[in-house]
Subunit: 510 residues, 2 copies
């Protein structure tokens, strides 16, 4: 990181104070804001459009493999949560509890809760238990299986320290839940879903991820196996970007999800669950954003480009606006990966503030049209992945023909840049000294960006994992799948020195 | 209504017991079921697909007029609800109140609520107050207006007597909220939205509706004007199918939504809100369903057609299934109003149960393919809007070419049938005796279907409206807009006999 430039649109810069830079980018890009309800966010249209695009991509891929959408109650009876021991441990601690179903005028004239419920209800932190209850009624025979269900909705986890998109008391997500007759089929589905998440991250969000499985300590409460994709943010911390859980027969036993097999024997089913959430929006900002604001990958961008008419004389207004509107129509007719280009027209006063608004929002292309461009039947455009002063003139027809190609180039460049960053900050580490030094800032400045992903040996003992977490706040992010990149050769555990079968990825994380 | 036929798939029939028929159709069609959480429903894939199709239609139309989606917190601080006097009256009575944010082990080892909140939170029954709080911060100048926001989500109203889709403690909806600089613009938007709802009901759900405005007593709590679309169910009761509210400056005053006008004078803004909900699914079932189950209008149908291979000999299986899969691919490539045809293949044992499953689910077309059809390169299809034994043979190529046309015919026929029913049970009534007789069953059988829409004069006095409601359980559904059909000639109030400017629609309602 270099000395901050006084010209950046976002202060502080990433190098100066990364967490505060993140908050300022969200504010400057107009994506979301804190709400008057503790820990809950308001997702504004520019941020919500990103989420809509993500949902459309994921939804189509889930439907293509036979998953069907459904909807289950937001409330979970208290006793449901208690059915699976690990699950209650994981989710009962911080949750929104509904205890009354009415408001009445109190002694001082204000409203007070009334109508106490006989059994309190929990606002769902996740729906395994309530959906499992339905599954236990729906599944009778092996002929009913598999059942592949997905739900788009909101969930609530009462978080003490919140940060927009990354950790909020309420967030949006999809949660998939499936039931299978065999462990093999359930595990295969768990992997298929992770492939969809890898595709989403790499090819749409332009976020390079490392896919792998979690150590037992980091698994979802109640899962036999948790698969994950881990991304590196620009402060070199890991962000868990999506997870797919093989739940074994744990929830089936807890909730009596049983089927008769072909031999008329009763069997417990095998279940899975999986999710990505609005947390991805935080990951997108922290992966691609720079000191001028957000940078949106074209494949999920809220809009692809903005047309900025440059009107210096009132007499020009009519013909420039006509040209701009006609260009907007032509661009909206362009097919970009099966969808129309998303085009904004911003006809506000053509000062620098307008241009900077769109830079901060991260729109991939800004297209200026002034009297000279009109005369040349041309446009003058700037790409958000390049310096903001770097502009290109291009004939109107050529620009319409090439817009998709330019957007694809931006998409690729964002991905490659993020991958290079991730690779530059991933290091094989073999001594405990190097390991501790890697995760400790060189000077005492609290905000110094340091560390990254450490590829180090782990013997498999929970104690070793715990010690590193306690000493450094560093956890095992995953046991990566990619054998080409992360060859699983044996070695010595970074914590205890005993034999280790393979390297795993350690990092600080969100 | 005729004597029930013993052959109907749904018992009781509509004539025997309409409310119970409704519950049985929902069960038989596999659209939804009651959940273990009081008053909340589980929307199963066959029902949820209808809702997804409705959301896609509405969402596209809202975006076309410049509405943008966003997301606001599910929780509303208690004091927010108190800001608008009528609003708190309307919604505080029955709502889910969150009072704690943690669970702890109690004395008996079970979980008990802990971590009491300093101020209780309400699970949103509607979002005027929480969105209004954001608007009060977002709106500064007339240049910021209009703001057109929509939210897709869940809301909770603690209902005592619930019925799936029609009245549930939690339901899904969209809620639009807009802010304008002038009353005229806000009113125009309120009307534009109602037009979208009319289009949705008439042209997609095939539900004929009467558009109009509500009497003051029937308005949304806090609204200056509520516009509505009212549909007639087959028990001749009205269903309010969508509402659009002109909120005047009431919420703007309560929540300090102010802007500086062009003369730098501070003004209160004008706001609107509007919604349709999963209640529409209940309306769809009750409008079109028959004694054999649901009937889905093709434009919103969960699926358009099902292919049913008829395999009598194991030797035929391979070539029949190959033919069926090839036909499914060809049909899925057909463009039906801009979307691919939605095609199911049901290869279960070809007994009568399979056929009846699809009749009960209401799929528009059932297509059988057996060895003889294969030999003739033909299909054998049945339409859900006709008698279930009425089947048509058609060549494969012709069927593929005509499928869209056949579906459009079904769509039109469902609409026309429902409109004829509504017209047959809408009556001009001019004497109080006729009015009371119309809304009173002729014999004492509790379940007899009777009444309908009464076009009667009303003087405008709340007292007259109240008396009719108290006597008969009949309310004013709307003051209809359509002057051709409901000519607003003066007359005498049905309740008090005084002068009345126009007829209004009275009915019993859901």
């Amino acid at each position: 990181m270099t000395t901050p430039s006084p010209q950046t649109a976002i202060r502080p810069t990433r190098a100066e104070d990364y967490p505060e830079w993140y908050q300022q980018v969200i504010k400057a890009s107009d994506m979301a804001e804190n709400s008057p309800v503790r820990g809950c966010m308001v997702i504004k249209p520019w941020g919500f459009a990103l989420w809509e695009n993500i949902t459309r991509i994921v939804d189509a891929r889930l439907k293509a493999i036979g998953v069907r959408n459904a909807y289950f109650p937001i409330f979970i009876p208290l006793n449901f949560l208690e059915k699976e021991a690990q699950h209650v441990e994981g989710f009962a601690k911080e949750c929104a509890v509904v205890t009354h179903h009415r408001l009445e005028k109190g002694a001082d004239g204000g409203l007070v809760p009334a109508g106490p419920l006989t059994e309190p209800l929990i606002v769902r932190p996740t729906s395994e238990t309530i959906i499992g209850d339905s599954f236990s009624k729906w599944v009778k025979s092996y002929r009913d299986l598999p059942i592949l269900i997905n739900q788009w909705g909101n969930v609530v986890r009462w978080e003490m320290r919140t940060r927009i998109f990354l950790r909020t008391s309420e967030f949006l997500w999809h949660e998939g839940h499936t039931v299978h007759a065999t462990a093999e089929e359930a595990m295969r589905l768990t992997e298929t879903i992770l492939d969809i998440y890898v595709d989403l991250a790499e090819n749409f969000l332009a976020i390079p991820v490392i896919a792998g499985k979690k150590s037992p300590a980091e698994r979802f409460p109640g899962a036999d196996e948790t698969l994950t994709i881990e991304a590196m943010m620009q402060d070199r911390k890991a962000l868990q970007a999506g997870t797919s859980h093989f739940l074994g027969q744990n929830f089936a036993r807890a909730q009596q999800i049983k089927y008769q097999d072909a031999n008329e024997q009763e069997q417990f089913a095998w279940t899975t669950s999986w999710a990505v959430s609005t947390r991805l929006l935080g990951g997108l900002i922290m992966t691609h954003g720079d000191d001028d604001g957000a940078i949106l990958p074209p494949r999920v961008a809220s809009s692809h480009l903005v047309l900025l008419p440059i009107i210096r004389k009132a007499a020009d207004q009519g013909r420039i606006m006509e040209y701009v509107e006609s260009l907007a129509r032509a661009l909206r007719a362009v097919d970009y990966h099966g969808e129309p280009l998303r085009v904004e027209v911003d006809a506000r006063d053509s000062g620098g503030a307008r241009n900077w608004d769109w830079i901060k929002k991260g729109i991939p292309l800004r297209v200026e049209i002034g009297p000279r461009d009109l005369a040349n039947d041309a446009v003058f455009f700037a790409r958000r992945d390049r310096d903001h002063r770097d502009k290109t003139a291009m004939g109107r027809a050529e620009f319409i023909a090439k817009a998709g190609e330019i957007l694809d180039e931006i998409q690729q460049r964002l991905h490659d840049r993020a991958l290079a960053f991730q690779q530059a900050h991933t290091r094989k580490i073999d001594t405990v000294e190097d390991f501790y030094a890697y995760f400790t800032p060189r000077n005492k400045e609290r905000l110094e960006i340091h560390g990254g992903f450490a590829l180090a040996h782990w013997c498999g003992e929970p104690g070793c994992e715990e010690k590193i977490k306690a000493d450094l706040g560093v956890t095992i992010r995953c046991l990566p799948f990619d054998e080409n990149r992360f060859a699983p050769a044996p070695g010595k555990c970074i914590a205890c020195g005993r034999q280790s079968p393979r390297r795993v990825i350690f990092a600080k994380s969100y």
